[in-house]
């Protein structure tokens, strides 16, 4: 007798090239098989009309613990993740203290394990205290569980330091993730520089802030033969540069956030601070370029840049408001628009939230291979619901999608073969 049987669902497991209506069965918290199950089960889930896929991975998340737990903590962030069908999150190191020592890596992993809702795989800092001057002990951070390195939010502006970071990290095969933003061009800005910023009378952040740093980084990546990943790519120029670098055989990859392929700068025309983030929402031309990058594979990963903030930091006028929006609970429905629009097949779309980030980070999650931990997302791609920010599991209320209709809803999330989220509620 098997422990859990998921029947009749459309099983999509891109890592194993599976896309068919069949069963998934689970024993001892691991995937025991995918195919036609014959026998009895202690518990069964009827997934008729639903999609069954590996638990999603979000490789760009800010959880604020330790240091700013009033904005989010590992518990509320884990809850938001599984509510969004996400079972593995990679947390950015800009906590307080930041993740630049092994002790903090171990601490956040242990805390997530204690909560037991989702895997937390931290991203270590590239430089000590995110100061951009001295490298962290990447070897030890990696041994402790860091899966990549980034000074996210504080771009590594010093070209010499970036060169050394790429050279050192690539000596051991580590991935460097850059929030590409030349602050000397963007400082003081709140929104994309263009006609919208002009009409608002708000200082803009020119697209060249992103593009110029990526151009520099790609040159340094070439020399170092490094692995370089562009976080939350948002501009046409950036997508084009990544595409060209890949054609030249460089190990350059990119992720896109749902807001950058779903929304444009027009969202801030009413001074909406819940549509303020960095990089900012850009033009329709940029949005379409990001979509094309997702379609042709230039952008391999969808990641949210989940950035919860307290409402006090958002309710102070657009130019004073903090950067960032929450994303864990909206990643799937917003991304499903790409499938509905014919940009990506369902399998290719799911790959960008499962097998692709897993491969990039060299982690075992993101597939339904036999023996893998049974981290599974079961969702209804058609179900419509209205997003109410007061009902988010995240402590953050900062979403531009409040009161909008979402299509696609998570029905069940399983972690290690245990149902942790079912039809709107967390399971104890």
């Amino acid at each position: 007798m098997t422990d859990i049987l998921i029947t009749n669902g459309r099983v999509i497991d891109p890592a194993n090239n599976i896309d068919e209506v069949c069963d998934v069965w689970i024993e001892n918290g691991t995937v025991a098989g995918v195919g036609k199950f014959d026998g009895s089960a202690k518990q069964s889930i009827d997934a008729k009309g639903l999609i069954v896929c590996p638990g999603l991975i979000d490789m760009h998340v800010h959880l604020r613990e330790p240091g700013e737990e009033w904005k989010e903590d590992i518990e509320s962030g884990s809850q938001a993740a599984v509510a969004g069908g996400i079972t593995t999150i990679c947390t950015m190191p800009n906590t307080e203290p930041c993740i630049d020592h092994a002790g903090i890596v171990l601490q956040v992993i242990a805390r997530a394990k204690e909560i037991g809702l989702c895997n937390l795989r931290p991203i270590g800092a590239v430089t000590r205290n995110l100061k951009g001057t001295e490298l962290t002990e990447m070897r030890e951070l990696s041994r402790s569980g860091a899966v990549a390195f980034s000074d996210d939010g504080k771009p590594i502006w010093h070209a010499g330091v970036m060169r050394k970071a790429l050279e050192y990290s690539s000596s051991f095969g580590y991935l460097i993730i850059q929030h590409a933003e030349e602050k000397q061009l963007t400082d003081g800005g709140s929104v994309n520089e263009g006609w919208v910023s002009t009409q608002l009378g708000v200082q803009g952040m020119p697209v060249e802030g992103e593009d110029s740093m990526i151009a520099r980084d790609i040159m340094l990546t070439r020399r170092a033969d490094a692995r370089y990943h562009v976080a939350h790519i948002s501009s046409k120029g950036a997508v084009e540069q990544v595409r060209l670098a890949q054609k030249q055989g460089l190990k350059v990859t990119a992720e896109a956030a749902p807001h950058h392929f779903a929304l444009t700068e027009n969202e801030v025309l009413n001074f909406n601070a819940d549509a303020k983030m960095s990089p900012p929402l850009r033009t329709e031309e940029d949005r379409l370029a990001v979509i094309e990058g997702l379609r042709d594979g230039t952008i391999e990963v969808i990641a949210t840049d989940h950035a919860p903030h307290h409402e006090d930091d958002k309710r102070c006028g657009l130019s004073c408001a903090a950067f960032g929006i929450v994303g864990l609970e909206t990643m799937l429905p917003i991304s499903l628009d790409l499938e509905r629009a014919g940009v990506l097949s369902m399998s290719d779309l799911i790959a960008k939230m499962t097998s692709n980030p897993a491969k990039l980070l060299n982690i075992p999650e993101g597939s339904l291979s036999q023996g893998n931990a049974a981290d599974i997302c079961i969702f209804d791609p058609q179900a419509e619901w209205t997003l109410d920010r007061e009902k988010l599991f995240s402590k953050g209320r900062n979403t531009p999608w409040h009161s909008r209709t979402m299509t696609g809803q998570v029905q069940y999330t399983l972690k290690d073969g245990r149902v942790v989220f079912e039809k709107g509620s967390l399971k104890a």
């Binding site: 910023s197 803009g204 009413n270 309710r315 102070c316 006028g317 657009l318």
Partner: protein, 314 residues
């Protein structure tokens, strides 16, 4: 609450107004000029109304003219500036706004360095009419109404006239509001500045853009000089020196003459003599600068009347 006039609940920006509303406000301002020149400068229009001037940025003429405007119409006017407010004790803008609104004023007049402050506060302050007295680089509607009243009285119909605005367009709320007003009211705007002082896609406003001041003079009816914030100019590399700025974009007698005898000079103040405008030009017969200040009181009387001077609804 009093019923607002001209369909105005708030006054956020020129961009929210239509031609009829702008014309009505200017004409009402025109009617109030008379009170200001009487020996007894008092009218009962706003008796029983409370107006709070909440200024987070320094201001002399705008704050004073709102205060005088309210007082001459018998409103109770309270002035609060950032240096005396609880902001210094760490209170948020929203809390300051809500606290003052709880004291039930009819109108809050707000100046703040954050663009969209009135739009932001209006979501939380339901019963208080808000007037934007300048928000960041966004809008300054009462300045534009003041200018339109001044032009109406000195030139008559502004339709088809060409206003040439010179200076730091990028950071100017006055320039933005004029570019919006020009489209609505049918006058032309030329802007003159180096690229370092222009906002992105400024041509989308439908204005002509010049980098060469001298090339923009011919055909200009109004030379509108903007104050140069000297500290902003050099530290942000917007311009190499005051000397070169004055030489390139300053309005001197030679340029005023080249523009032609019909051309008038305006400035929203405060002026930097010898920087954007030469002293002899500022003091010349062509200068409307003091008329602007005078008419500013009348227009603010009109704005306050529009928002809280109507018949009271019980």
């Amino acid at each position: 609450m009093p019923k607002p006039l001209f369909g105005l609940k708030h006054l956020f920006g020129i961009g929210d107004l239509n031609r009829e509303q702008i014309t009505s406000l200017v004409n009402l301002g025109d009617d109030f000029i008379d009170i200001n020149s009487r020996s007894v400068k008092k009218d009962a229009t706003l008796r029983g109304r409370t107006v709070i001037n909440l200024f987070f940025e320094n201001s002399t003429r705008t704050r004073t003219s709102f205060e005088i405007a309210g007082k001459r119409l018998s409103a109770d006017v309270i002035n609060i500036s950032a240096s005396t407010s609880a902001t210094k004790k760490g209170e948020s803008l929203l809390d300051t706004g809500q606290t003052l609104a709880a004291m039930q004023p009819h109108v809050l007049v707000i100046r703040h360095s954050v663009a969209g402050t009135c739009e932001f506060l209006s979501e939380f302050l339901e019963d208080t009419a808000l007037i934007n007295a300048g928000d960041g680089s966004h809008e300054h509607p009462t300045q534009i109404l003041t200018d339109l009243l001044t032009l109406k009285r000195s030139m008559g119909d502004i339709q088809g006239k060409t206003m040439t605005i010179v200076g730091d367009i990028a950071h100017s709320r006055v320039a933005r509001s004029h570019m919006l007003a020009a489209k609505i009211m049918g006058y032309n705007v030329r802007i003159v500045a180096p690229k370092t002082l222009l906002p992105a896609f400024v041509e989308n406003y439908g204005c002509e853009v010049f980098h060469d001041f001298d090339a923009a003079l011919d055909g200009t009816d109004i030379l509108y000089m903007l104050r140069v914030q000297t500290e902003r100019l050099t530290t942000n590399c917007c311009f190499p020196s005051i000397r070169e700025y004055h030489e390139t974009y300053g309005l001197n007698m030679k340029r005023l003459k080249a523009a032609g005898d019909h051309c008038m000079v305006m400035h929203p103040g405060p002026m930097n003599r010898g920087v954007e405008i030469a002293t002899d030009v500022a003091d010349s017969m062509k200068s409307l600068i003091l008329e602007q200040v005078e008419h500013g009181v009348a227009v603010r009387m009109a704005a306050l009347t529009a928002l809280c001077g109507g018949a009271t609804e019980e």
